[in-house]
């Protein structure tokens, strides 16, 4: 029971500070779950994000469900997800009841302009940390550059490929590429024997 409460409380806190979309929560998850509590690893987190991207639902919720499940099974998954939802629900209930023009308040806009700067630094640092283990050879570098370009330029390009499609393609290409690499490895090993 204590473990479940701990999960709920941890994700409640994380849910209250996840400004700027699912990926912005990665640095906070890293700090709270990898460094402080050792509930998961940075590699697992990254994998949860790539799965969360191509399954239904909101990425940050999907990641919460994954971590909760890993820690305490189905109950843990529910505790983490509901915990993550609690903050946003309360905030919107308050805004809907009292603060009709919340987003247009000058003080809110200034605060958020500051927060956005912080969020892009946090994301940059997460990318720098994950880079070494994710982009390991020319193939993954090429894949990174293509998907990055398609995503970053999505406003300029005349067509838009949904992120889920990109992720699924990347998975399939990964299977094919690692298969080719294995075959090459095997045939060169055989060549060495002969």
């Amino acid at each position: 029971m204590n473990q479940l409460l701990d999960l709920y409380w941890t994700f409640l806190k994380i849910g209250c500070v996840t400004f700027g979309g699912g990926y912005a929560m990665l640095p906070i998850l890293e700090r709270e779950l990898v460094t402080k509590r050792q509930w998961t690893t940075m590699d697992d987190l990254r994998d949860y994000f790539s799965i969360g991207q191509c399954t239904p639902g909101i990425i940050s919720l999907n990641v919460s469900t994954f971590i909760g499940q890993k820690r305490c099974g189905v109950k843990g998954a529910i505790a983490a997800t509901v915990g993550f939802l609690t903050g946003p629900i309360i905030i919107i209930l308050i805004i809907a009841s009292f603060l009709k023009n919340f987003a247009t308040l000058e003080i809110v806009q200034h605060a958020f302009a500051g927060i956005r700067v912080c969020v892009c630094v946090l994301i940059l640092q997460a990318v720098l940390r994950l880079w070494k283990k994710s982009v390991i050879d020319p193939f993954t570098l090429a894949l990174y550059l293509i998907i990055f370009a398609l995503n970053a330029l999505s406003g300029v390009l005349p067509f838009k490929i949904p992120a889920a499609v990109l992720v699924i393609c990347a998975g399939i290409i990964g299977i094919i590429a690692s298969e080719i690499k294995n075959r090459k490895g095997q045939s060169s090993a055989k060549g060495g024997e002969a």
């Binding site: 191509c54 629900i89 992120a163 998975g171």
Partner: protein, 187 residues
């Protein structure tokens, strides 16, 4: 009855929207047209609210619609309904993942997925940076290259970057500090 309908509509949104929070938008417009629980203008407002609060747009809109139609209980139930389908799907995938982690195909898929994942994280960072650090409208107005970059923001960004490296504080503290700096210096 309204409660059931609320839960059904938002569960559907949760089931079919794949990707980031904004992927829920087309479904929210559809709900708006069909039910009149909220208007298109409400959705636009909620995008702004979602950008200035922690929640994702889908969660926020479900809470808002539930609250306006059926009070606090409606707000809570609609949000839980939105989350329900993805929780079930992730639970199934998590089981599968535990079992097949060592499988060659799964391993190969992750070989590609990892590069894709970090590419998407980078792109998300660039998209935030475009708004946070660059001031395109001021540049278009004056044509002065100095106006293109939001100098105050870039200095704050560099300070946060160094601060994070040296101080090892929680990111939450840096988020709170940047909000205060944003208010004080009128970002």
């Amino acid at each position: 009855m309204v409660l059931l309908r609320l839960m059904f509509e938002f569960a559907k949104t949760g089931l079919f929207s794949v990707g980031g929070g904004l992927a829920t938008l087309p479904f929210l417009y559809e709900i708006s047209d069909k039910t009149g629980w909220f208007s298109h203008a409400d959705i636009a407002d909620m995008i702004a609210v979602s950008e200035s609060t922690p929640g994702a747009i889908g969660i926020n809109m479900s809470t808002y619609a539930g609250f306006t139609t059926s009070g606090i209980l409606g707000g809570v139930l609609a949000s839980l309904a939105l989350a329900f389908p993805s929780v079930v799907i992730i639970l199934i995938i998590a089981k599968f993942l535990e079992k097949y982690r060592q499988n060659k195909l799964v391993d190969g898929a992750f070989y590609g997925l990892r590069a894709a994942s970090i590419a998407m994280i980078s792109a998300a960072g660039i998209n935030v940076a475009k708004v946070a650090l660059i001031n395109l409208s001021a540049y278009q107005l004056t044509g002065n290259l100095m106006d293109l970059f939001n100098i105050k923001a870039i200095i704050l960004g560099i300070l946060i970057f160094i601060g994070q490296k040296k101080l090892k504080w929680s990111p939450v503290i840096f988020i709170a500090l940047s909000a205060v700096v944003g208010i004080l210096l009128k970002f």
